[in-house]
Symmetry: C2
Subunit: 404 residues, 2 copies
């Protein structure tokens, strides 16, 4: 993060089609009962593309297809459905993902190899491909751009989107992102999807470098269930229409691009954590003075992923014992006797020893929606964050009370 971040403005209205030359639509086409379930993003010109995908060995058909598609570094459109993940669907699933790609390309009159595909929803059920083909016919190039963010939702209770602007070489540049949550649910699983559009001019290789690096500190640092899904996908399209010269590696412009990307990915990550299934609280963990950034992230993620910490926060219990136990279980080499922990700025552990705190003040702090757990390892100079939500009755209910 550099001082250039100060030059980034978040627009009051988010729109995935806000960057120059982007278009989008999102409609209900019958995959879900009532809500929007099919959408696309289209760019007037071929865009550079970068992608990151689930590390789960069980990968849905659209994930397998996208990995091939983006190898040439170019994309012009993305088609996404919710309601069915097209995962664990065998060879028919692969051919359905290809059909989505081909039919979208036909409708937009572009090459098949320029279309990305994503699906989310129930797994193990054959995709109702006819509904999707008919649905694609209904999509407009300039349609309900806000509808796209809704069309990718499954158990999400809130739309997750952001649009930011800055300037590069005197040109206004715009970046937008939409995402859906990683909670897994009804009836088998949902997944985490993220799509980012920008009119910045950057080649695919550098875009991929920036994205791969960025997700380590953003999307990979959220955890709702601690599991990866079969469909997790993040795609970034950069079409270059902002009109500045192509961004080169090792330049101030590249640093600024990375700052913008991180602003978008972090905002989406926090929005996802904040909307965890059944969540009543956002848990944001910051680990400071670690020996390495990886150490810091591992400790932060272990805390935010601990069922015991998550239930304690739901119960408004400043249970630092569970936090220190999670830190100790993180597989990071550290000295427990140096560790400080605070919860919403109130110290609960100092130099590895329990700190006295005012129970009433703490009780008030734990009523807040955002719970910040700050950990100082006193072991180095690096930092890292992770985000999650509390573990609630509602989480159990949502995930238990469905019968396949």
């Amino acid at each position: 993060m550099t001082e250039l971040l100060n030059q980034i403005t978040t627009l009051s209205t988010a729109d995935i089609a806000a960057p120059i030359g982007f278009h989008a639509d999102g409609q209900h086409v019958g995959l879900k009962h009532k809500s929007k379930d099919l959408g696309w993003i289209y760019s007037d010109v071929i865009a550079s593309v970068a992608g990151v995908f689930t590390t789960n060995l069980v990968q849905a058909a659209p994930v397998q297809l996208d990995k091939k598609t983006i190898r040439n570094g170019q994309l012009q459109a993305i088609i996404v459905n919710s309601g069915n993940a097209n995962a664990v669907t065998g060879s028919i699933g692969v051919s359905h993902a290809e059909s989505m790609q081909e039919f979208t390309a036909q409708q937009l009159n572009i090459d098949t190899s320029l279309v990305g595909v994503a699906s989310t929803g129930i797994i193990g059920k054959v995709l109702p491909i006819d509904k999707i083909i008919n649905g694609i016919k209904q999509l407009k190039i300039d349609g309900d751009t806000n509808g796209f963010a809704h069309a990718i939702m499954t158990t999400d209770t809130k739309e997750k989107s952001i649009t930011i602007q800055s300037t590069i070489q005197g040109k206004i540049v715009t970046m937008s992102g939409v995402a859906k949550g990683s909670g897994m649910l009804h009836p088998n699983m949902a997944t985490m999807l993220g799509f980012i559009t920008t009119d910045i001019n950057i080649d695919a290789k550098l875009l991929q470098q920036a994205l791969s690096e960025d997700v380590e500190t953003s999307f990979n640092q959220i955890t709702i269930d601690g599991d990866t899904s079969t469909n997790d996908t993040v795609l970034v399209m950069a079409n270059g229409l902002a009109g500045h010269k192509m961004i080169e590696n090792h330049t101030a412009e590249y640093e600024q691009f990375k700052d913008m990307l991180h602003t978008v990915t972090t905002a989406l990550s926090i929005a996802i954590a904040n909307d965890g299934e059944g969540a009543t609280k956002l848990i944001a963990v910051a680990v400071n003075h670690a020996q390495s950034a990886l150490d810091a992230r591992m400790v932060a993620k272990k805390i935010v992923g601990s069922s015991l910490v998550k239930t304690a926060i739901f119960g408004k219990d400043p249970n630092w014992g569970r936090i220190i136990a999670a830190i100790g279980a993180s597989n990071v080499d550290l000295n427990p006797n140096l560790i400080d922990i605070s919860i919403n700025k109130i110290a609960v552990l100092v130099n590895g020893a329990p700190a006295d705190f005012n129970a009433d003040t703490m009780a008030e702090k734990l009523e807040e929606h955002d719970i910040h757990i700050d950990v100082d390892l006193h072991a180095g100079t690096e930092s890292g964050c992770a985000w999650g939500s509390d573990l609630t009755y509602e989480y159990v209910k949502i995930n238990a009370l469905y019968t396949t």
Copy 2:
């Protein structure tokens, strides 16, 4: 597991003092409100000892002490309290653990270096050492032997103990074990403790080899929260009073000893999983035809540790999508298209594709208390198991509704 296992008999009454020359007591001495909270085990003669301890970097004072104590391979007594874990208690905690050790040695008139110490209960609170010293005075060598299993309990709802017998070289040999659960709770955390006594004649080195190997397939394969605690301890004492010749490595007797040990550790592991906090069901996962035993165990443990699988089982949902997703997230190299999954003997996935099953029959099976998930990876010849419990409202309640 060999055919010798057939020669092992489980006694109808378990007793940690059943092996020749062992004695025990368990009493209430005021650490907890009403229930038993202090106990010991004593052997007439010095026993070989082996131990395994938590891998958490934050280790309670008694764990630190025991690691030193058992280095010489000998132990004659173990003193255990519940109600307070003596963890994150700094240097005073270390001196308190030493006081427990010294005073127990005095009372039993044995060398200090022959006494193991274990604590479980609240963390971060100074041990009420006076109550413990006074309590040790109340313990009898031949006291309430069944009381020992109760004195180590925290949130456990059931006593966990087993006694088995077999013969070695014509001599009857006896092995007993007691354990307490790994659920973590009120107000900070509990822990997993296990103590095993036997009159078998085996040296400390071979005993440690057998134990270290065994826990990989027993205690390390249970998960309630997925976290390790600050106090996890397993100690085995073998005093040799059964009267057979010392067991040597690479012999049938050693194989039989390992079978007996595994019978005890597995029974205790399943008892712990079965008594997970708020649990309504035992989940037993068996993974077969893996490339390696480690692969099998990793896959099994990932399934049984998945919050999504655990909530599905609570909800009586045959949600194989979550099971296959957990398998894919296990970091084991496998081919998803070869995998079979069954739930209580009903196939739900065959060759990586959904299987048709009778919903009514499945619904009946999911009413059962024990849920067996069998996975066939079709990748090799090795197997592994893991045990856990479901994730319930009650788990959230137990872990949320305490305010420190």
